[in-house]
Protein backbone atom coordinates (compact mmCIF):
# COMPACT_ATOMS: atom_id res chain seq x y z
CA UNK A 1 0.00 0.00 0.00
CA UNK A 2 1.34 3.43 -0.87
CA UNK A 3 1.94 6.07 1.76
CA UNK A 4 -1.02 7.97 0.30
CA UNK A 5 -3.33 4.99 0.69
CA UNK A 6 -2.00 4.29 4.20
CA UNK A 7 -2.63 7.86 5.20
CA UNK A 8 -6.30 7.81 4.25
CA UNK A 9 -6.84 4.20 5.34
CA UNK A 10 -5.77 5.25 8.82
CA UNK A 11 -8.42 8.00 8.78
CA UNK A 12 -11.05 5.44 7.77
CA UNK A 13 -9.91 3.16 10.57
CA UNK A 14 -10.11 5.94 13.14
CA UNK A 15 -13.62 6.80 11.99
CA UNK A 16 -14.68 3.17 12.00
CA UNK A 17 -13.47 2.78 15.57
CA UNK A 18 -15.57 5.71 16.81
CA UNK A 19 -19.36 5.54 16.87
CA UNK A 20 -20.84 8.76 15.45
CA UNK A 21 -23.61 8.89 18.08
CA UNK A 22 -25.66 11.46 16.13
CA UNK A 23 -28.21 13.57 17.95
CA UNK A 24 -30.76 15.46 15.85
CA UNK A 25 -32.68 18.31 17.43
CA UNK A 26 -35.76 19.61 15.64
CA UNK A 27 -35.57 23.31 14.66
CA UNK A 28 -39.04 24.82 14.20
CA UNK A 29 -37.71 28.10 12.74
CA UNK A 30 -36.19 26.35 9.74
CA UNK A 31 -39.08 23.94 9.29
CA UNK A 32 -42.15 24.47 7.08
CA UNK A 33 -44.94 22.27 5.82
CA UNK A 34 -42.59 21.40 2.93
CA UNK A 35 -39.57 20.27 4.98
CA UNK A 36 -38.35 19.69 8.53
CA UNK A 37 -35.01 20.90 9.86
CA UNK A 38 -32.69 19.51 12.51
CA UNK A 39 -29.44 20.55 14.14
CA UNK A 40 -27.24 17.48 14.24
CA UNK A 41 -24.22 16.83 16.41
CA UNK A 42 -22.03 13.81 15.80
CA UNK A 43 -18.60 12.50 16.62
CA UNK A 44 -15.67 12.53 14.22
CA UNK A 45 -12.04 11.56 14.78
CA UNK A 46 -10.23 13.05 17.73
CA UNK A 47 -12.80 12.36 19.10
CA UNK A 48 -14.43 15.69 18.26
CA UNK A 49 -18.08 16.62 18.15
CA UNK A 50 -18.93 18.27 14.82
CA UNK A 51 -22.16 19.86 13.62
CA UNK A 52 -24.44 19.60 10.62
CA UNK A 53 -27.64 21.12 9.29
CA UNK A 54 -30.12 18.43 8.27
CA UNK A 55 -33.32 19.06 6.37
CA UNK A 56 -35.83 16.42 5.26
CA UNK A 57 -38.67 17.05 2.79
CA UNK A 58 -42.23 16.34 3.92
CA UNK A 59 -43.62 13.00 2.78
CA UNK A 60 -42.78 9.35 2.92
CA UNK A 61 -39.63 9.29 0.81
CA UNK A 62 -37.29 7.99 -0.28
CA UNK A 63 -35.84 11.35 -1.35
CA UNK A 64 -32.83 12.40 -3.36
CA UNK A 65 -30.16 13.80 -1.07
CA UNK A 66 -27.27 16.25 -1.16
CA UNK A 67 -24.28 16.55 1.13
CA UNK A 68 -22.71 20.01 1.31
CA UNK A 69 -19.07 20.00 2.29
CA UNK A 70 -17.92 23.07 4.22
CA UNK A 71 -16.51 26.22 2.63
CA UNK A 72 -13.29 27.81 3.84
CA UNK A 73 -14.45 30.30 6.44
CA UNK A 74 -15.90 30.42 9.90
CA UNK A 75 -19.52 30.27 8.79
CA UNK A 76 -21.47 27.90 6.55
CA UNK A 77 -24.97 29.02 5.75
CA UNK A 78 -27.78 26.58 6.35
CA UNK A 79 -28.76 24.84 3.10
CA UNK A 80 -30.77 27.01 0.75
CA UNK A 81 -34.54 26.86 0.77
CA UNK A 82 -34.62 25.68 -2.84
CA UNK A 83 -32.48 22.69 -1.94
CA UNK A 84 -34.55 21.85 1.10
CA UNK A 85 -37.61 21.74 -1.18
CA UNK A 86 -36.00 19.09 -3.40
CA UNK A 87 -33.53 17.09 -1.37
CA UNK A 88 -32.64 15.74 1.99
CA UNK A 89 -29.74 18.08 2.71
CA UNK A 90 -26.89 17.75 5.14
CA UNK A 91 -24.36 20.55 5.56
CA UNK A 92 -21.22 19.74 7.51
CA UNK A 93 -19.51 22.21 9.81
CA UNK A 94 -15.98 20.92 10.19
CA UNK A 95 -14.13 21.29 13.47
CA UNK A 96 -13.28 24.89 14.25
CA UNK A 97 -16.13 26.43 12.28
CA UNK A 98 -19.08 28.16 13.92
CA UNK A 99 -21.34 25.64 15.67
CA UNK A 100 -18.43 23.17 15.79
CA UNK A 101 -16.04 25.52 17.57
CA UNK A 102 -15.94 24.12 21.07
CA UNK A 103 -13.24 23.65 22.17
CA UNK A 104 -11.36 24.40 18.95
CA UNK A 105 -11.97 27.73 17.22
CA UNK A 106 -10.40 28.09 13.78
CA UNK A 107 -8.63 31.34 12.90
CA UNK A 108 -9.04 33.12 9.56
CA UNK A 109 -6.52 33.69 8.12
CA UNK A 110 -4.55 30.84 9.65
CA UNK A 111 -6.55 27.63 9.58
CA UNK A 112 -5.21 26.71 6.14
CA UNK A 113 -1.70 26.20 7.49
CA UNK A 114 -2.47 24.74 10.90
CA UNK A 115 -0.24 21.73 11.49
CA UNK A 116 0.93 21.77 7.88
CA UNK A 117 4.53 20.95 8.86
CA UNK A 118 3.59 17.28 9.03
CA UNK A 119 0.90 15.46 7.02
CA UNK A 120 -0.07 13.58 10.18
CA UNK A 121 -0.87 16.79 12.07
CA UNK A 122 -2.28 18.84 9.19
CA UNK A 123 -5.74 20.08 10.11
CA UNK A 124 -7.11 19.05 6.73
CA UNK A 125 -6.63 15.41 7.61
CA UNK A 126 -9.26 15.91 10.28
CA UNK A 127 -11.39 18.19 8.10
CA UNK A 128 -11.61 15.49 5.44
CA UNK A 129 -12.52 13.04 8.20
CA UNK A 130 -15.34 15.38 9.25
CA UNK A 131 -16.66 15.43 5.67
CA UNK A 132 -16.47 11.64 5.49
CA UNK A 133 -18.37 11.39 8.75
CA UNK A 134 -21.02 13.65 7.27
CA UNK A 135 -21.17 11.42 4.18
CA UNK A 136 -21.65 8.33 6.30
CA UNK A 137 -24.43 10.03 8.23
CA UNK A 138 -26.32 11.11 5.11
CA UNK A 139 -25.80 7.90 3.15
CA UNK A 140 -27.11 5.98 6.15
CA UNK A 141 -30.26 8.07 6.56
CA UNK A 142 -33.43 5.96 6.37
CA UNK A 143 -35.26 8.23 3.94
CA UNK A 144 -32.43 8.70 1.43
CA UNK A 145 -32.86 7.17 -2.01
CA UNK A 146 -29.45 5.47 -2.35
CA UNK A 147 -29.49 5.81 -6.14
CA UNK A 148 -29.83 9.60 -5.99
CA UNK A 149 -27.29 11.10 -3.63
CA UNK A 150 -25.04 14.00 -4.58
CA UNK A 151 -22.24 15.92 -2.91
CA UNK A 152 -21.34 19.54 -3.53
CA UNK A 153 -18.73 22.01 -2.37
CA UNK A 154 -15.19 22.78 -3.41
CA UNK A 155 -12.78 19.92 -4.13
CA UNK A 156 -13.56 18.54 -0.66
CA UNK A 157 -16.73 17.26 -2.35
CA UNK A 158 -14.70 15.27 -4.89
CA UNK A 159 -12.40 13.89 -2.20
CA UNK A 160 -15.44 12.87 -0.16
CA UNK A 161 -17.05 11.14 -3.14
CA UNK A 162 -13.78 9.38 -3.87
CA UNK A 163 -13.52 7.94 -0.40
CA UNK A 164 -17.18 7.10 0.15
CA UNK A 165 -18.74 5.26 -2.76
CA UNK A 166 -22.47 5.79 -2.80
CA UNK A 167 -22.67 9.19 -4.42
CA UNK A 168 -24.15 9.34 -7.88
CA UNK A 169 -22.95 12.88 -8.57
CA UNK A 170 -20.22 15.14 -7.23
CA UNK A 171 -20.04 18.83 -8.03
CA UNK A 172 -17.07 21.05 -7.23
CA UNK A 173 -16.71 24.80 -7.54
CA UNK A 174 -12.95 24.35 -7.77
CA UNK A 175 -9.81 24.06 -5.66
CA UNK A 176 -9.86 24.31 -1.88
CA UNK A 177 -9.92 28.02 -1.13
CA UNK A 178 -7.64 27.33 1.82
CA UNK A 179 -4.81 26.58 -0.59
CA UNK A 180 -4.56 30.26 -1.50
CA UNK A 181 -3.08 30.81 1.96
CA UNK A 182 -0.46 28.09 1.52
CA UNK A 183 2.95 29.12 0.21
CA UNK A 184 5.39 26.71 -1.38
CA UNK A 185 4.52 23.03 -1.74
CA UNK A 186 4.43 21.46 1.70
CA UNK A 187 4.12 17.67 1.59
CA UNK A 188 0.90 17.75 3.57
CA UNK A 189 -1.10 19.19 0.69
CA UNK A 190 -0.10 16.34 -1.65
CA UNK A 191 -2.64 14.24 0.22
CA UNK A 192 -5.40 16.60 -0.89
CA UNK A 193 -4.55 16.46 -4.59
CA UNK A 194 -7.87 15.68 -6.32
CA UNK A 195 -6.07 13.93 -9.15
CA UNK A 196 -5.11 11.28 -6.61
CA UNK A 197 -8.68 10.88 -5.41
CA UNK A 198 -10.48 9.33 -8.40
CA UNK A 199 -14.17 8.79 -7.84
CA UNK A 200 -16.79 6.67 -9.52
CA UNK A 201 -19.48 9.35 -9.21
CA UNK A 202 -20.32 11.50 -12.18
CA UNK A 203 -18.48 14.77 -11.64
CA UNK A 204 -18.93 18.38 -12.65
CA UNK A 205 -16.08 20.66 -11.72
CA UNK A 206 -15.62 24.36 -12.27
CA UNK A 207 -12.33 24.82 -14.09
CA UNK A 208 -12.48 21.33 -15.62
CA UNK A 209 -16.00 20.84 -16.96
CA UNK A 210 -17.19 24.42 -16.84
CA UNK A 211 -15.62 27.86 -16.99
CA UNK A 212 -17.35 30.51 -14.91
CA UNK A 213 -18.81 33.43 -16.81
CA UNK A 214 -18.60 35.45 -13.55
CA UNK A 215 -22.24 36.37 -14.06
CA UNK A 216 -23.00 34.48 -10.91
CA UNK A 217 -26.72 34.08 -11.36
CA UNK A 218 -26.13 32.48 -14.75
CA UNK A 219 -23.30 30.34 -13.39
CA UNK A 220 -25.43 29.20 -10.48
CA UNK A 221 -28.18 28.18 -12.88
CA UNK A 222 -25.77 25.95 -14.81
CA UNK A 223 -24.43 24.32 -11.65
CA UNK A 224 -27.88 23.86 -10.14
CA UNK A 225 -29.27 22.39 -13.34
CA UNK A 226 -26.48 19.84 -13.62
CA UNK A 227 -27.03 18.44 -10.14
CA UNK A 228 -30.83 18.58 -10.39
CA UNK A 229 -30.77 16.55 -13.62
CA UNK A 230 -28.37 14.01 -12.13
CA UNK A 231 -30.63 13.52 -9.13
CA UNK A 232 -33.91 13.60 -11.02
CA UNK A 233 -35.43 16.85 -9.76
CA UNK A 234 -36.28 20.18 -11.37
CA UNK A 235 -33.82 23.08 -11.41
CA UNK A 236 -34.80 26.14 -9.38
CA UNK A 237 -33.30 29.60 -9.77
CA UNK A 238 -32.71 31.30 -6.43
CA UNK A 239 -33.79 34.65 -7.86
CA UNK A 240 -37.17 33.21 -8.83
CA UNK A 241 -37.89 31.85 -5.37
CA UNK A 242 -39.84 34.35 -3.31
CA UNK A 243 -41.91 33.88 -0.17
CA UNK A 244 -45.52 33.50 -1.20
Amino acid sequence: MTEFDEYWRAVDDELAALPARPVADHVPARSTDRFTAYDVRLTSIGPYRIFGYLSVPAGDGPFPAVLETPRYGSVNLAPHYRDRLRYITFTVMHRGQRLADVPFQAAYPGLATLGIEDPATYVYRAIVADCLRGAEFLLGHDLVDPARVGVTGDDLALITASRRPGFRAARSNGPLEALTEVTGSPRAIEFLDVARHPCSARTFRVGTDYELTHEDSADDEVLDTWLARELGVSPIRKFDLMPS
Binding site: P28, G73, P109, H214, P243
Partner: protein, 307 residues
Amino acid sequence: MRDPENAVITVPLPEDFDSFWAETLKSVPELDTSLTYVERLSTDEVAVYDVRYTSYENVRVAAWYATPRTGGPFPGLVNIPGYISEPLPPVQWARRGYAALAVAPRGKLRSNSHFNPGYPGLLTHNIVDHHTYGYRGFYVDVVRALDVLAERTEVDSSRVGLQGSSQGGGLGIVTAALRPDAVSCFAAGAPYLCGIWDSAKLTHSYPYEEINEYVRVHPGHSELIRQSVAYYDGMNFAPKVKAPAFVYIGLEDDVCPPETGFAVYKALNGPKEMHTYPRSAHQAGLHWVMPKVADFLDKHLVHGGSR
Protein backbone atom coordinates in the same frame (compact mmCIF):
# COMPACT_ATOMS: atom_id res chain seq x y z
CA MET B 1 -42.10 39.49 -13.89
CA ARG B 2 -40.06 41.62 -11.51
CA ASP B 3 -39.23 45.20 -12.39
CA PRO B 4 -36.51 46.01 -9.85
CA GLU B 5 -35.69 49.46 -11.14
CA ASN B 6 -39.23 50.72 -10.63
CA ALA B 7 -40.20 48.81 -7.54
CA VAL B 8 -41.41 50.82 -4.58
CA ILE B 9 -39.60 50.12 -1.32
CA THR B 10 -41.01 51.98 1.64
CA VAL B 11 -39.48 52.19 5.08
CA PRO B 12 -41.13 54.15 7.88
CA LEU B 13 -38.92 56.92 9.29
CA PRO B 14 -39.03 56.85 13.08
CA GLU B 15 -39.69 60.28 14.59
CA ASP B 16 -36.68 60.00 16.86
CA PHE B 17 -34.36 58.50 14.24
CA ASP B 18 -31.81 61.33 14.39
CA SER B 19 -31.79 61.64 18.17
CA PHE B 20 -31.55 57.86 18.55
CA TRP B 21 -28.32 57.78 16.58
CA ALA B 22 -26.96 61.01 18.01
CA GLU B 23 -27.40 59.64 21.52
CA THR B 24 -25.99 56.28 20.54
CA LEU B 25 -22.83 57.83 19.14
CA LYS B 26 -22.53 60.23 22.08
CA SER B 27 -22.61 57.36 24.54
CA VAL B 28 -19.41 55.66 23.40
CA PRO B 29 -16.39 55.57 25.71
CA GLU B 30 -12.83 56.58 24.83
CA LEU B 31 -11.29 54.59 21.98
CA ASP B 32 -8.28 53.41 24.01
CA THR B 33 -6.70 52.10 20.79
CA SER B 34 -3.95 49.52 20.86
CA LEU B 35 -1.81 48.78 17.83
CA THR B 36 0.41 45.70 17.58
CA TYR B 37 2.72 45.11 14.65
CA VAL B 38 2.24 41.63 13.10
CA GLU B 39 5.39 40.44 11.42
CA ARG B 40 3.93 37.24 9.93
CA LEU B 41 1.26 39.15 7.99
CA SER B 42 3.50 42.01 6.88
CA THR B 43 5.51 42.20 3.67
CA ASP B 44 8.50 44.16 2.43
CA GLU B 45 6.17 46.90 1.22
CA VAL B 46 3.35 46.77 3.75
CA ALA B 47 3.23 46.82 7.54
CA VAL B 48 0.25 45.05 9.14
CA TYR B 49 -1.05 45.77 12.63
CA ASP B 50 -3.58 44.12 14.89
CA VAL B 51 -5.74 46.98 16.16
CA ARG B 52 -8.14 46.93 19.11
CA TYR B 53 -10.43 49.74 20.19
CA THR B 54 -13.36 50.30 22.49
CA SER B 55 -16.83 50.83 21.14
CA TYR B 56 -20.46 50.95 22.22
CA GLU B 57 -21.12 49.44 25.66
CA ASN B 58 -17.38 48.98 26.21
CA VAL B 59 -16.97 46.13 23.75
CA ARG B 60 -13.42 45.78 22.44
CA VAL B 61 -13.39 45.56 18.66
CA ALA B 62 -10.61 44.19 16.47
CA ALA B 63 -9.37 45.37 13.10
CA TRP B 64 -6.47 44.76 10.75
CA TYR B 65 -4.56 47.89 9.78
CA ALA B 66 -2.19 47.96 6.83
CA THR B 67 -0.05 50.84 5.60
CA PRO B 68 2.72 51.31 3.06
CA ARG B 69 6.13 51.16 4.78
CA THR B 70 7.33 54.41 3.25
CA GLY B 71 5.85 57.77 2.38
CA GLY B 72 2.74 59.40 3.68
CA PRO B 73 0.58 60.99 4.70
CA PHE B 74 -1.73 58.40 3.19
CA PRO B 75 -5.38 58.53 2.31
CA GLY B 76 -7.42 56.43 4.70
CA LEU B 77 -9.77 53.61 3.77
CA VAL B 78 -12.16 51.61 5.94
CA ASN B 79 -12.94 48.11 4.64
CA ILE B 80 -16.29 46.90 5.96
CA PRO B 81 -16.95 43.14 5.99
CA GLY B 82 -19.83 41.07 4.70
CA TYR B 83 -22.20 39.12 6.88
CA ILE B 84 -20.41 35.79 7.10
CA SER B 85 -16.91 36.81 6.07
CA GLU B 86 -13.97 37.40 8.36
CA PRO B 87 -11.95 40.50 7.46
CA LEU B 88 -8.52 39.83 6.01
CA PRO B 89 -5.54 42.17 6.42
CA PRO B 90 -6.07 44.82 3.71
CA VAL B 91 -2.60 44.36 2.25
CA GLN B 92 -3.67 45.00 -1.35
CA TRP B 93 -5.14 48.38 -0.48
CA ALA B 94 -1.98 49.33 1.37
CA ARG B 95 0.07 48.34 -1.67
CA ARG B 96 -2.09 50.78 -3.59
CA GLY B 97 -1.10 53.56 -1.21
CA TYR B 98 -3.85 53.54 1.40
CA ALA B 99 -3.72 53.32 5.14
CA ALA B 100 -6.47 50.73 5.27
CA LEU B 101 -8.40 49.52 8.27
CA ALA B 102 -10.37 46.29 7.90
CA VAL B 103 -12.76 46.26 10.80
CA ALA B 104 -14.13 43.16 12.54
CA PRO B 105 -17.28 44.45 14.25
CA ARG B 106 -18.61 42.71 17.36
CA GLY B 107 -19.55 39.09 16.80
CA LYS B 108 -16.77 38.49 14.26
CA LEU B 109 -14.23 35.95 15.47
CA ARG B 110 -11.75 38.39 16.95
CA SER B 111 -14.41 40.59 18.53
CA ASN B 112 -16.84 38.07 19.97
CA SER B 113 -15.84 37.56 23.58
CA HIS B 114 -18.67 39.77 24.89
CA PHE B 115 -21.14 39.64 22.03
CA ASN B 116 -21.60 36.52 19.97
CA PRO B 117 -25.05 36.08 18.46
CA GLY B 118 -23.57 33.73 15.88
CA TYR B 119 -24.44 33.04 12.29
CA PRO B 120 -27.33 32.63 11.81
CA GLY B 121 -28.30 34.98 14.59
CA LEU B 122 -26.89 38.47 14.13
CA LEU B 123 -29.70 39.75 11.91
CA THR B 124 -32.40 38.74 14.35
CA HIS B 125 -30.60 39.32 17.66
CA ASN B 126 -33.18 41.26 19.73
CA ILE B 127 -34.74 42.38 16.46
CA VAL B 128 -38.02 43.34 18.15
CA ASP B 129 -36.35 46.11 20.16
CA HIS B 130 -34.37 48.83 18.42
CA HIS B 131 -32.71 49.80 21.70
CA THR B 132 -31.02 46.44 22.18
CA TYR B 133 -30.91 45.18 18.59
CA GLY B 134 -27.57 43.45 17.92
CA TYR B 135 -26.76 45.73 15.04
CA ARG B 136 -26.78 48.83 17.28
CA GLY B 137 -23.28 48.28 18.59
CA PHE B 138 -22.19 46.67 15.33
CA TYR B 139 -23.03 49.87 13.42
CA VAL B 140 -21.14 51.95 15.97
CA ASP B 141 -18.12 49.66 15.66
CA VAL B 142 -17.89 50.53 11.97
CA VAL B 143 -18.42 54.26 12.49
CA ARG B 144 -15.68 54.29 15.12
CA ALA B 145 -13.20 52.92 12.60
CA LEU B 146 -13.15 56.50 11.31
CA ASP B 147 -12.08 57.68 14.77
CA VAL B 148 -9.25 55.16 14.77
CA LEU B 149 -7.97 56.49 11.45
CA ALA B 150 -8.36 60.07 12.73
CA GLU B 151 -5.88 59.29 15.52
CA ARG B 152 -3.20 58.18 13.08
CA THR B 153 -0.66 60.86 12.19
CA GLU B 154 0.25 59.05 8.95
CA VAL B 155 -3.35 59.38 7.72
CA ASP B 156 -4.62 62.50 5.97
CA SER B 157 -7.99 62.73 7.67
CA SER B 158 -9.34 64.98 4.93
CA ARG B 159 -9.11 62.03 2.53
CA VAL B 160 -10.89 59.02 4.00
CA GLY B 161 -13.10 56.60 2.09
CA LEU B 162 -15.19 53.51 2.76
CA GLN B 163 -15.34 50.32 0.77
CA GLY B 164 -17.39 47.17 1.09
CA SER B 165 -19.99 44.94 -0.43
CA SER B 166 -23.21 43.47 0.91
CA GLN B 167 -23.15 44.24 4.66
CA GLY B 168 -20.06 46.31 3.85
CA GLY B 169 -22.05 48.22 1.24
CA GLY B 170 -25.04 48.85 3.48
CA LEU B 171 -22.84 49.99 6.33
CA GLY B 172 -20.93 52.25 3.97
CA ILE B 173 -24.18 54.14 3.44
CA VAL B 174 -24.87 54.18 7.19
CA THR B 175 -21.38 55.41 8.05
CA ALA B 176 -21.33 58.08 5.36
CA ALA B 177 -24.66 59.35 6.73
CA LEU B 178 -23.63 59.36 10.38
CA ARG B 179 -20.27 61.03 9.70
CA PRO B 180 -20.88 63.27 6.70
CA ASP B 181 -17.85 65.41 7.52
CA ALA B 182 -15.41 62.53 7.90
CA VAL B 183 -16.14 60.53 4.74
CA SER B 184 -14.82 61.77 1.38
CA CYS B 185 -16.37 59.03 -0.75
CA PHE B 186 -17.53 55.44 -0.58
CA ALA B 187 -18.07 52.40 -2.75
CA ALA B 188 -21.00 50.15 -1.88
CA GLY B 189 -21.68 46.87 -3.63
CA ALA B 190 -24.96 44.93 -3.43
CA PRO B 191 -26.01 46.87 -0.34
CA TYR B 192 -27.57 44.82 2.43
CA LEU B 193 -29.68 46.26 5.27
CA CYS B 194 -31.58 48.49 2.86
CA GLY B 195 -35.32 47.91 2.68
CA ILE B 196 -34.80 45.25 5.32
CA TRP B 197 -38.42 44.25 5.91
CA ASP B 198 -39.34 44.31 2.21
CA SER B 199 -36.24 42.29 1.36
CA ALA B 200 -37.39 39.37 3.45
CA LYS B 201 -40.55 39.31 1.32
CA LEU B 202 -38.47 39.11 -1.86
CA THR B 203 -36.11 36.25 -1.09
CA HIS B 204 -35.56 32.93 0.62
CA SER B 205 -31.79 33.47 0.71
CA TYR B 206 -29.79 34.19 3.85
CA PRO B 207 -29.30 36.43 5.73
CA TYR B 208 -32.79 37.87 5.10
CA GLU B 209 -34.25 34.37 5.37
CA GLU B 210 -33.37 34.66 9.08
CA ILE B 211 -36.23 37.15 9.36
CA ASN B 212 -38.65 34.78 7.63
CA GLU B 213 -37.58 32.04 10.02
CA TYR B 214 -37.97 34.30 13.03
CA VAL B 215 -41.47 35.30 11.96
CA ARG B 216 -42.36 31.65 11.41
CA VAL B 217 -41.80 31.07 15.13
CA HIS B 218 -43.07 34.48 16.31
CA PRO B 219 -45.80 35.39 13.84
CA GLY B 220 -47.11 38.14 16.09
CA HIS B 221 -43.85 40.09 16.00
CA SER B 222 -43.99 41.33 12.41
CA GLU B 223 -45.04 44.88 13.21
CA LEU B 224 -42.50 45.20 16.01
CA ILE B 225 -39.76 44.06 13.65
CA ARG B 226 -40.85 46.46 10.94
CA GLN B 227 -40.68 49.37 13.37
CA SER B 228 -37.44 48.27 14.93
CA VAL B 229 -35.41 47.69 11.77
CA ALA B 230 -36.48 51.09 10.42
CA TYR B 231 -33.87 52.59 12.78
CA TYR B 232 -31.23 50.53 11.00
CA ASP B 233 -32.42 50.72 7.42
CA GLY B 234 -30.10 52.18 4.80
CA MET B 235 -33.14 53.76 3.18
CA ASN B 236 -33.40 56.10 6.16
CA PHE B 237 -29.69 56.89 6.18
CA ALA B 238 -29.30 57.48 2.43
CA PRO B 239 -30.89 60.96 2.30
CA LYS B 240 -28.30 62.17 4.83
CA VAL B 241 -25.35 61.10 2.70
CA LYS B 242 -23.31 63.89 1.12
CA ALA B 243 -20.19 62.05 -0.02
CA PRO B 244 -19.76 60.82 -3.61
CA ALA B 245 -21.04 57.26 -3.92
CA PHE B 246 -20.16 54.40 -6.25
CA VAL B 247 -22.89 51.75 -6.12
CA TYR B 248 -23.01 48.45 -7.97
CA ILE B 249 -25.58 45.69 -7.97
CA GLY B 250 -26.43 42.39 -9.64
CA LEU B 251 -29.76 42.45 -11.44
CA GLU B 252 -30.52 38.89 -10.33
CA ASP B 253 -29.23 39.18 -6.78
CA ASP B 254 -31.15 36.69 -4.63
CA VAL B 255 -29.37 37.80 -1.42
CA CYS B 256 -29.96 41.55 -1.53
CA PRO B 257 -32.84 42.09 -3.94
CA PRO B 258 -32.02 44.58 -6.71
CA GLU B 259 -35.30 46.35 -5.93
CA THR B 260 -33.65 47.56 -2.73
CA GLY B 261 -30.38 48.43 -4.44
CA PHE B 262 -32.16 50.72 -6.89
CA ALA B 263 -34.30 52.21 -4.14
CA VAL B 264 -31.42 53.11 -1.86
CA TYR B 265 -29.41 54.46 -4.77
CA LYS B 266 -32.27 56.82 -5.65
CA ALA B 267 -32.41 57.96 -2.02
CA LEU B 268 -28.70 58.92 -1.87
CA ASN B 269 -28.24 62.66 -1.80
CA GLY B 270 -24.65 63.24 -2.89
CA PRO B 271 -22.95 62.82 -6.26
CA LYS B 272 -23.40 59.21 -7.30
CA GLU B 273 -22.88 56.63 -9.98
CA MET B 274 -24.52 53.23 -10.43
CA HIS B 275 -23.24 50.13 -12.17
CA THR B 276 -25.62 47.26 -12.83
CA TYR B 277 -24.73 43.74 -13.91
CA PRO B 278 -27.21 41.52 -15.73
CA ARG B 279 -27.35 37.76 -15.07
CA SER B 280 -25.43 38.54 -11.88
CA ALA B 281 -26.39 37.70 -8.35
CA HIS B 282 -24.74 38.79 -5.10
CA GLN B 283 -21.27 39.05 -6.57
CA ALA B 284 -22.70 42.05 -8.41
CA GLY B 285 -20.17 42.01 -11.21
CA LEU B 286 -17.23 41.62 -8.84
CA HIS B 287 -15.02 40.27 -11.61
CA TRP B 288 -15.36 43.50 -13.62
CA VAL B 289 -16.24 46.11 -11.06
CA MET B 290 -13.33 45.98 -8.62
CA PRO B 291 -10.91 47.84 -10.94
CA LYS B 292 -13.60 50.50 -11.31
CA VAL B 293 -14.03 50.69 -7.54
CA ALA B 294 -10.30 51.18 -7.11
CA ASP B 295 -10.23 53.89 -9.79
CA PHE B 296 -13.16 55.66 -8.13
CA LEU B 297 -11.46 55.63 -4.73
CA ASP B 298 -8.15 56.75 -6.25
CA LYS B 299 -9.86 59.61 -8.07
CA HIS B 300 -11.35 61.00 -4.87
CA LEU B 301 -8.72 60.05 -2.32
CA VAL B 302 -5.38 59.95 -4.12
CA HIS B 303 -5.57 62.19 -7.17
CA GLY B 304 -8.34 64.47 -5.98
CA GLY B 305 -6.49 65.71 -2.92
CA SER B 306 -8.38 66.95 0.09
CA ARG B 307 -11.98 68.00 -0.02
